[in-house]
């Protein structure tokens, strides 16, 4: 975990309100697992004041670069989207516990299910899984054809199924519809997206899996207890009945926390 200024080396709008930004700095090399996030202070300001937790979409260790994909939702992300190349942001990270991939073996098949801006962290995960020799099937859910991003990038790593809520491309409906239609077997799944989607995914798959949660955060390091969720069962060692999304998560074993 480090705190450093990282320089913006690329930034573009890849879909309506969806931006891809690349940050350069030594911190990039300290990323341990896919699914970790960084806490970004977009500028020293009183509005916005707090850092923004952003997931990591890709890492280039050699170039010391992190790529993030985010949706412009409020003042912080709006301001980030207006930043020019060469400008810096202050980054705290990498933070949190990411997707565990140690148990995945060569030729295992992994299912990745992402919705909207929950998709980006699955990309670096997919790359790592493919590197291990695993097969990756990805289901990506969007509102409409115009909102689609990262499709071709995922296609280079394995089979991709697109779902859209209006049926303008791919399967009409939600990611869970594509899960039901799936004929392939898989040993583990990984998912990230809105809470409703995560709940539905968790309910429709029996294989073991991992879910990545998002929540409004304060400190990002586990001190302020702003981003907690309930554990399905109290921790045997500590007696704790909750988990901190920022430091115990954002990735949890499916069923471990109540979504």
């Amino acid at each position: 975990m480090r705190l450093e200024n990282m320089m913006i080396t690329a930034q573009m709008e890849i879909a309506p309100k969806i931006f891809q930004v690349t940050l350069r700095g030594a911190l990039a090399q300290t990323l341990e697992t896919p699914g970790q996030f960084i806490h970004v202070q977009i500028e020293k300001s009183i509005d916005p004041m707090l850092r923004r937790p952003l997931s990591i979409c890709d890492v280039d260790m050699d170039k010391q670069e992190l790529t993030l994909i985010y949706r412009v939702e409020g003042k912080g992300t709006k301001r980030l989207s207006e930043k020019k190349l060469g400008e810096e942001v202050n980054v705290l990270g990498p933070l949190g516990e990411g997707f565990p991939i140690e148990e995945v073996k060569e030729n295992d098949t992994c299912l990745l299910v992402g919705g909207g801006v929950g998709i980006p962290p699955l990309y670096y995960l997919a790359k790592q899984l493919v590197k291990k020799g695993a097969n990756v099937i990805t289901i990506l859910g969007f509102r409409s054809e115009g909102d689609i991003f990262l499709e071709s990038e995922f296609e280079q790593l394995g089979k991709v199924i697109i779902t859209t809520e209006d049926g303008s491309k791919g399967t009409l409906g939600f990611v869970t519809d594509a899960i039901h239609d799936l004929t392939e077997e898989y040993s583990v799944y990984y998912t990230c997206g809105p809470k409703g989607m995560l709940r539905a995914v968790e309910n429709s798959i029996v294989s073991p899996g991992y879910i990545s949660l998002e929540e409004r955060m304060g400190c990002g390091v586990g001190a302020c207890l702003a981003c907690v969720c309930d554990l399905a069962e109290a921790n045997v060692e500590t007696g704790k009945v909750y988990a901190k999304i920022c430091s115990d998560g954002p990735v949890f074993k499916a069923g471990e926390v109540i979504i």
Binding site: D47, R51, E215, G218, A223, C224, C227, D230, G239
Partner: protein
């Protein structure tokens, strides 16, 4: 001589800076960033008799110059704190203040009695000002008599000095400060957060699941300064000042207003090194302003005003 040293009941502090309760957990998260011995004192999160799960999320909402929080006193409970959190802090020399909360006076008394027996606890901070719980907290802090009664009860069982943390959500904070002083408080902490609300335009509902929350951050500093200025002239006990400290000059402003030490809250979330950075900048600023020591500036503002008044 250490120009930054301040001495308060139960607390020998090498500098006036401590993290504010609720913003620093029990220290373990920030110990990953720096040596907690750098701190003048360590004020840990509120402790209640039973474990508390706190409020539903979202628990934070941002606003220009500040943030609203509604954590709801989530903590692992007295027993766990006694068994795990406080022993972990034993390796540090900085004095420790434990924030104590509860639903009923008996709850406060039980926590204070047990916590104050622990050898590395130097003081307790009596939380009569949390705005985010349905029972206890602020319910004890908005009426002078209720606040005084609770202070007296907790004083009767505590083996360490008691600092009463006051709520700014009152018409006359001086009245409450004087009442708790008369009831035996050794010091005051002020201010807790100001009650606020934000609404999400997309849903039309409050952003916080608790609907209301406590406002902290730079925006509340003038309220804190005004209250400390007023209270410090009417009580003899020392004040730990807090509310929007982000810069070295903020610390000096709090002390000139009448605080003897300060606590840093929200700033930790933006910069995990906020406390040590502030401590590092203090001496240089004292030199620039031409002051020998920090203690010499405490209450300077009211002293000067009163002097002018006499003339």
């Amino acid at each position: 001589m250490n120009r930054l040293e301040v001495n308060l009941p139960g607390l020998v502090m090498k500098n006036p800076v401590m993290p504010a309760s609720g913003c620093f957990g029990f220290g373990q998260e920030y110990a990953k960033f720096y040596d907690l011995n750098r701190l003048g004192a360590i004020c840990v999160k509120a402790v209640t008799v039973e474990r508390r799960s706190g409020n539903p999320t979202p628990r934070v909402a941002e606003t220009p110059g500040g943030m609203l929080n509604a954590i709801g006193l989530q903590n692992p409970g007295l027993e766990h704190v006694l068994q795990h959190e406080l022993p972990w802090l034993e390796k540090y020399e900085s004095p420790i203040i434990v924030n104590v909360a509860g639903n009923l006076p008996e709850d406060y008394m039980e926590v204070a009695r047990e916590i104050s027996k622990v050898k590395n606890v130097n003081a307790i901070e009596l939380n009569i000002s949390c705005p985010n719980v349905k029972e206890g907290g602020i319910a004890f802090g908005t009426n002078a008599q209720t606040a005084a009664d609770l202070t007296e009860k907790v004083k009767s069982v505590s083996k360490v000095p008691v600092y009463v943390k006051l709520s700014p959500n009152v018409t006359d904070i001086v009245e409450i400060a004087k009442a708790v002083e008369s009831a035996g408080a050794d010091g005051l902490s002020m201010i807790n957060t100001l009650l606020g609300m934000r609404i999400d335009l997309n849903t039309g509902k409050p952003i916080l699941a608790n609907r209301t929350g406590g406002l902290s951050g730079a925006g509340i500093k003038p309220v804190a300064i005004r209250m400390i200025y007023e209270v410090s002239q009417k009580v003899q006990i020392p004040i730990i000042g807090m509310g929007g400290i982000f810069e070295v000059d903020d610390i000096l402003e709090f002390m000139m207003a009448g605080a003897s030490a300060v606590a840093v809250g929200t700033a930790n979330f933006i910069d995990p090194f906020a406390c040590p950075n502030l401590i590092d900048g203090l001496e240089e600023r004292l030199d620039e302003l031409g002051f020998d020591s920090l203690t010499s500036i405490v209450g300077r503002s009211s002293a000067l005003c009163n002097l002018n008044h006499v003339r």
